[in-house]
Symmetry: C2
Subunit: 399 residues, 2 copies
């Protein structure tokens, strides 16, 4: 069984942290100069590990081994959210690099571009499985400042590069490590999470149309206040969802907008985004049915209501043989300190799972914090996670 | 008793409508070039009516009669909200002009600047009663695009003009006509509203502090969702207020903001503006007490809550003798077609009432619509309203 070099792994992770260091976290948005610098550094480290790295036309780094024989693809993404944490995707990329060193010739490493959605939705990994058209790239813009993706790619020196496709025939499958981003492992004093499935994410936009009017001269009895109608629905959602949701379901109203949004004007319009996540499509369907029923009830009130689904990913099961291999390895290195659990966050692994067997491993997030400069994981937990993944990879490759 | 010239009045109102005409309404924000053009035109019409007009350093137009003897000050404001209605404010100024013609030597006419709050709160009328300091003017900025008031005044050619003060010794009092802006007169098929008092407006900012976190990885049980806390309070307000409010009280939640306001992030902060209006200070105090109690209850939940009052005007009683004179006149010209009623909107009359007896007359708003291009009043109702005010003014001046 391979033995990883914990100091080397932590050294690489800390070196990568320097690219865009921001207080205790990093600011390394996709295609920014510092992100591109870090990609070239990662490619260099891949080459030193005996891989043949290539940065492609969407910014993916694919480090391929020239050796023959069966292989695993291992990776994650290397850019960060704005002013966010240092580990997020970087951890999984550096785990891949370390695995390539201790399992020479058997591991290819990937650093997918823009998993964090600065320009699109899983742009890098979706491009690698052939799911991104040129027309989609033409249409993408930076979510923060609106820069067209084409401009960003040109500035990053990627405009003339081809986009690489991953060849499923080359691989036994795909492995990805990630920080948990929740507090469950920590709360249960566990060290390793083996992902059973990645949740589906369904987002809905609910809109109410009222009558905008003067907040002083319009009697309460004749008002059609879109904000009041929306608030009532929010309350109904908070009451109803626990009755139809599963034990691990989550739902979030992350945005509410009243228009025009002035203190002396009765809102004539109101809109909110309702997101639900679960690993079980049947649970998601139940939650959607309940939401639709509540909107229909609301629609019978003074302000017409509409609902529209604006985002949908399907829950993705992780490959059972890979989960079993991760379980055996965890049992060896962290007996009784691991669990099987769904991922509440989306990951590139759900994209790769369209093409080949895929699995994921979680290490604990201190305080459950992520996407924040305070994001961290104990060094021992990082090293342990990588060792568990290395053994599991060797196991899968021998199988 | 004086007899007004309805055609002349409607002609003047329609001429004024041309300044900034926007579809069926007007766009004439304070100190804009078209607003200043209209002010010079109004001053010209005042001069033709035998007054000595002056546009002062805050943009007020004061047209004073050179004749000796007791006088009434009559007016309103002439600018509009952005892309709004043609009558609001303009009606009261043109009523003043017509009264000056039919009661020569006894009426001074005022067109107060910026009642609509493009730069401040009742800037013109407050300046005229000595309630606006130079420091306040230094601090004011345009609510829409941020231009400093000083810049706007300079561009309008007003920078070097003195600000005029109204001398209470000169007047019996102040009269203002306005469109109702509500639908009560129309709903009751009445033609004239005699204002009993102008409501007090109290606005509160309520803020919740939660914990911003990942909407996928944070279990429902450990969330501190500031948006959920805010929505609960909104619902409690909607339930509780009717129990403590008066029959004519209104309350409005015109703005809700969740931060950061993204579909995949649990809101770490939430804020709303709660406004209440009533003509009775005791009712307002009761509503405030109830709101504070609800916020205190909410504060005991997972997200700390704070409340801060950000706006407060006192209800202003209109002068009983003036109301009586308006009532006699209405009884003569529109028997049984008038009522006494509070004003749910704020008006310059509440400012002038600090200095002298003041009263207001309402004409019906078609469909209760105001601050919108559809704002309108039937021509016959406009003419009737002006005649009622003219007789009442004569009555008061004889008194």
């Amino acid at each position: 069984m391979p033995t990883i070099d914990g100091a080397r792994l932590l050294g690489d992770l800390n070196r990568l942290r320097d690219f865009g260091r921001y207080e205790t976290g990093v600011h390394r948005p996709t295609y920014s100069p510092i992100d591109m610098e870090s990609r070239h550094w990662i490619a260099g480290r891949m080459a030193e590990a005996g891989l043949e790295p290539e940065i492609d036309g969407i910014g993916n780094i694919l480090g391929r081994s020239p050796a023959p024989g069966p292989k695993l693809l291992v990776g994650s993404h290397s850019e960060s959210q704005n002013h966010a944490g240092w580990l997020d995707g970087a951890l999984g990329v550096m785990f891949g690099l370390e695995l390539a060193r201790v399992l020479p010739g058997q591991i290819d490493v990937a650093a997918w571009a823009d998993e964090e959605g600065h320009y699109g939705v899983f742009l890098g990994s979706r491009s690698a499985i052939g799911d991104v058209t040129d027309a989609e790239i033409d249409a993408c813009r930076n979510a923060t400042q609106g820069k067209p993706l084409r401009t960003a790619l040109a500035e990053a020196g990627l405009a003339d590069r081809p986009r690489l496709r991953v060849d499923p025939a080359r691989y036994r499958g795909y492995l990805e490590a990630h920080i948990e981003q929740g507090d469950e492992l920590e709360a249960l004093a566990l060290k390793i999470g083996i992902v059973t499935s990645i949740v589906g994410i369904w987002t809905f936009r609910v809109t109410f149309t009222g009558v905008q009017n003067h907040a002083g001269t319009t009697r309460m009895a004749i008002r059609k206040d879109a904000g009041v109608a929306l608030v009532k629905l929010c309350t109904a959602i908070e009451q109803r969802m626990p009755e139809v949701a599963g034990p691990r379901s989550v739902w979030t109203i992350g945005r509410i907008t009243l228009s025009p949004g002035a203190q002396s004007i009765i809102p004539g319009g109101a809109e909110m985004l309702v997101q639900m996540r679960d690993a079980d499509p049947a649970v998601l369907a139940r939650m959607r049915t309940a939401l639709h029923a509540l909107v229909a009830e609301a629609n019978a009130g003074p302000c017409p209501a509409t609902i529209e689904q604006i985002f949908e990913t399907t829950p993705k099961l992780m490959a059972p043989p890979f989960r079993a291999a991760l379980g055996r390895s965890a049992e060896r290195h962290a007996p009784r300190l691991f669990q099987h659990m769904p991922s509440g966050a989306g990951h590139d692994a759900q994209i790769l799972a369209e093409l080949m067997p895929a699995a994921m491993l979680f290490v604990p997030s201190i305080g459950g914090i992520s996407h924040h400069i305070a994001e961290d994981t104990a060094p021992d937990d990082i090293v342990l996670g990588c060792q568990v993944m290395a053994d599991a990879a060797a196991d899968i490759l021998m199988g």
